[in-house]
Amino acid sequence: MKLQTKLTFFNAISKLVIVTLFVLLLPGVIENINKSYTDDRLIKQKDKLLEIVQQQGIKTYIDGDESYGSYLPLKEEYISLDVAPPKYHLDTIQNEKRMVEQDTIDYRILSHTFKVGKKNYLLEIGKSTESIGETTKPLQNIAFQILIGMVLLTILADQAFSSYILRPLNIIIRTKLVSKKFPSFTAYKQVRTTTSDFQHLDISIHKMVEAIEKAFQKEREFISNASHELMTPISIMQSKIENMFEQDDVADETKLRLLEMQKILYRLKSITKTLLLISQIENEQFLREDKTTTAELLQELYDEISIRLQDKNISLVLLVTDNVELININKFLLFNLLFNLVNNAIKYNRTDGEITVSARWHNGRYQVSIADTGIGIAEEELPHIFNRFKKMKKALSQDSFGLGLPIVKSIADFHHIDISVISVQGEGSTFTLSLPPGTINAAL
């Protein structure tokens, strides 16, 4: 998830939670406010009444032992004044039921006893709780609507603001990281931002890219120079030996020795070429712009390599269960990868052995696997088989210099192909290449 989406998402969620909490708490709060407001009013009414009683005497309301009562037409408020027993004392505000003209109604009632002369009186002022609570619901609704509106507004504002403030980061990611095609670097372009973190990030990425670029450039120069310096002397020696072969006065014995020299020279040449190839691959000097089909590639491989099967009478089976078009690959390199794997499968195979090369979809990935019936690889050697110049113990007698699998590895890495090896000593090995989705165009 993108940072901006995450931020907006988090903001929205947290706001919604707070608003919901508030709306849920609202009835209680309003009730509390109403209660204290009502109580306040009841007390004020009581004080007023007592004031009137004090100024004008109790007779204004009560004459003799009669009681006084008054209520509003809809009975939401009432006042009553009674004569109370002499020792009776009360001063409370509480919710109680009262019967007013056959209607039982819930009231918030202030009860207060006071003495006038020798007589004790009980004053009750009531307000119906229904009339107290009736504002709660609409208040809650209005509050909820207003708050939701505000939340939406702030989410939009947050979105706009975070999008504005994160724009430099997006630019950095889009132009400097995602589209970066090593090793083709473009000139540094500063990303305009006032956020110091982004400035720091931008500069750091630029410095790193520059360092990588320098390293790539250096290695490229080194490869080119090393190649020139190594290949030129080999070339001279090779030409000299070839010309000497032609001379009429060279004895057969000398020719045999020349042949030995030539063989050694080819070995040197082969190692040098292979090492340079690996460096070039790792230096990203090859393009990935070819396309071919699995069937075609494997057929070419078969044509090239079939002669090597003859010596040990090995049978090679090509099983292209799913033929696909491969794109964004380097055909030369991919061919060499497969050639080396099959060549190894031949070299380490037994007489009358078998090799099966299969290509198919497996668990959602396109796989090419090469299975042989050869000597296998010891478990403790498996982790090292892709190391340069590492020869397997059993392979010492073979005419190779231990660069076959390192080439395979670097070509696979170049194409982002995963290699896995399963091997049972004495029974054979299976190398499986899992191709990345980007190299598969379409099923055929």
Binding site: T232, I234, Q238, E246, L256, K273, T274, D399, S400
Partner: protein
């Protein structure tokens, strides 16, 4: 055929000159770019062998000059630089072929022959080997009037290479490099050449024993012919 060899490495230039002169080419050698530039401007050549890594001259510039003053000449780039793009650029600029050092002199001659066939349109190039008619243009073999169509592409490549260098012993390494030149692999012994030769002999002997295809003990193979 006139050849201009542009190569700053004297030892190599001399070997090239020696080999090509022996094979009846007329050679001139330049050890640096500026003298080569002068020669190209004045003389006409059939072949220009150009080393890209000259100390005093950008090799590709020399190629451009050669294209202008010697449009008929076939250019072969020889280089020890390992820039992958060089090949593409060189061929784009009009080079006819590209050989990476170290190369075999035999391979160079084979490439030159291929260019001659392509450029100058040699009429049907058929060699008669004791009744086997090897057509290098169509890449077919007939035994008198019967086609020998069991020979594979690789086997024909081998035969053609041996035939191009007829009466000369080619080692397994040389043959192997020609056949598997584009494959980078970890072997340095080309014993599989023996299997190829064995197959070729078997296929040809269905018509007549191919005694002209000789094994030179301990050295390699040779096609012996007066044709």
């Amino acid at each position: 055929m006139n050849i201009l060899i542009i190569e700053d490495e004297k030892a190599l230039a001399q070997e090239l000159e020696l080999f090509l002169t022996k094979n009846n080419y007329v050679c001139e050698v330049c050890y640096n770019g500026s003298s080569a530039s002068e020669k190209i401007a004045v003389n006409l050549y059939d072949f220009i062998l150009l080393d890209l890594g000259l100390p005093d001259y950008e090799g590709l510039d020399l190629l451009k000059e050669a294209r202008q003053t010697n449009p008929e000449a076939a250019c072969i780039i020889l280089t020890a630089r390992a820039e992958v793009n060089d090949r593409v650029i060189g061929l784009d600029l009009g080079a006819d072929d590209y050989l990476a050092k170290p190369f075999s002199l035999l391979e160079l001659q084979s490439r030159m022959q291929a260019i001659i066939r392509r450029k100058f349109g040699v009429p049907q190039n058929v060699v008669d080997l004791d009744g086997f008619l090897v057509n290098l243009t169509d890449r077919t073999i007939m035994y008198h009037v019967n086609p020998v169509n069991t020979i594979t592409k690789k086997e024909f490549d081998l035969l053609a290479y041996l035939l191009l260098h007829k009466n000369r012993t080619l080692t397994r390494a040389q043959l192997g490099e020609h056949i598997w030149g584009s494959v980078i692999n970890d072997d340095y012994d080309s014993n599989f050449i023996d299997a190829h030769i064995k197959n070729i002999r078997k296929k040809l002997s269905a018509f007549a024993p191919a005694e002209w295809l000789e094994t030179v003990r301990g050295l390699g193979y040779r096609i012996k012919t007066n044709a």
